[in-house]
């Protein structure tokens, strides 16, 4: 309930949010500690309780081999693993490696796509949490122009 409380305290705009979208605010806490971590391992420990994952070929991670523009790197992750609870995108060499994490709710397919920023060439890791373990696969993306600076 941390996020809900924080938004609530941030003022009347947030109060309006609470009235308008209670589900958005109370569904789950935004994992601030995972996003604040400056090392990939720590980010994963803060989110999942461990930085140990089982490498698997049951996760399909689609990223470009070379990203000409690090500000917009398309990422698609899907998996044939069962009972998936969450999917996370971890960019090893970003200043804050945890880029995004998605809750896969009952009925939702473990198949997501987004676009992320990368400061430099790095491994991009797809981390999939299931009810029976934490799995990952990684690919390197070469970045020619970084996406985090001015």
């Amino acid at each position: 309930m941390h996020v809900g409380r924080r938004f609530f305290l941030s003022g009347s705009v947030a109060f309006a949010a609470l009235v308008a979208f209670p589900r958005a605010l109370w569904a789950a806490a935004w994992p601030d500690k995972a996003f604040a971590a400056s090392a990939a391992g720590q980010a994963m420990i803060n989110l999942l309780g461990t930085d140990q994952t089982t490498p698997t070929d049951q996760i399909t991670l689609k990223v470009p081999e070379i990203a000409e523009n690090g500000a917009v790197v398309p990422v698609t992750i899907s998996t044939s693993l069962e009972n998936v609870e969450s999917i996370s995108i971890v960019v090893d060499k970003n200043p804050r490696p945890m880029a995004a994490t998605f809750e896969i709710l009952p009925g939702t397919l473990p198949d997501i796509s987004s676009r992320i920023k990368m400061g430099q060439t790095s491994d991009v890791m797809a981390v999939v949490k299931t009810d029976h373990g934490i799995y990952s696969t990684a690919k390197q993306v070469k970045v020619t122009i970084g996406g985090c600076g001015g």
Binding site: V3, F7, S10, G11, V13, A14, A17, A20, F21, R23, A24, L25, A27, A28, W30, P31, F35, A71, V72, V73, T76, V91, N94, P95, R96, M98, A99, A100, T101, F102, E103, I104, L105, G107, T108, L109, D111, I112, S113, S114, R115, I116, K117, M118, G147, C148, G149, G150
Partner: protein, 104 residues
């Protein structure tokens, strides 16, 4: 205020393939204003939530590493024509946006 979210959902069988685009600067807090040389404060979407009728089908948590004007796509089962799919986001400064679409 009109919503700045664009959402498209295609149903095949009972699976909805949802694609969404949001308007947001997604500032990292590390970027400088090119004129004043001052750091632009961190400003990013934190959480994006999709509900189909009254069931939450996706909660996406974003850091500043999601690109400006974020794109997000996902799929869920149990969708049918006539369902109301709602998407809403909140950001770290208390900003928000939402839109609803009826699945066809």
């Amino acid at each position: 205020m009109a919503s700045n979210i664009k959402i498209k959902a295609k149903i095949s069988g009972d699976i909805a393939d949802v694609k969404s685009l949001m308007l947001h600067p997604m500032e990292t807090g590390a970027r400088k204003d090119p004129e004043t040389e001052e750091l632009i404060p961190i400003h990013h979407i934190t959480q994006l939530t999709f509900t189909n009728n009254d069931k939450t089908v996706m909660v996406a948590n974003f850091s500043t590493a999601v690109s400006k004007n974020p794109f997000f796509g996902f799929k869920f089962r149990g969708a049918k024509a006539g369902d109301t799919l709602k998407v809403s986001w909140v950001d770290n400064l208390g900003g928000m946006d939402e839109i609803e679409t009826v699945l066809k």
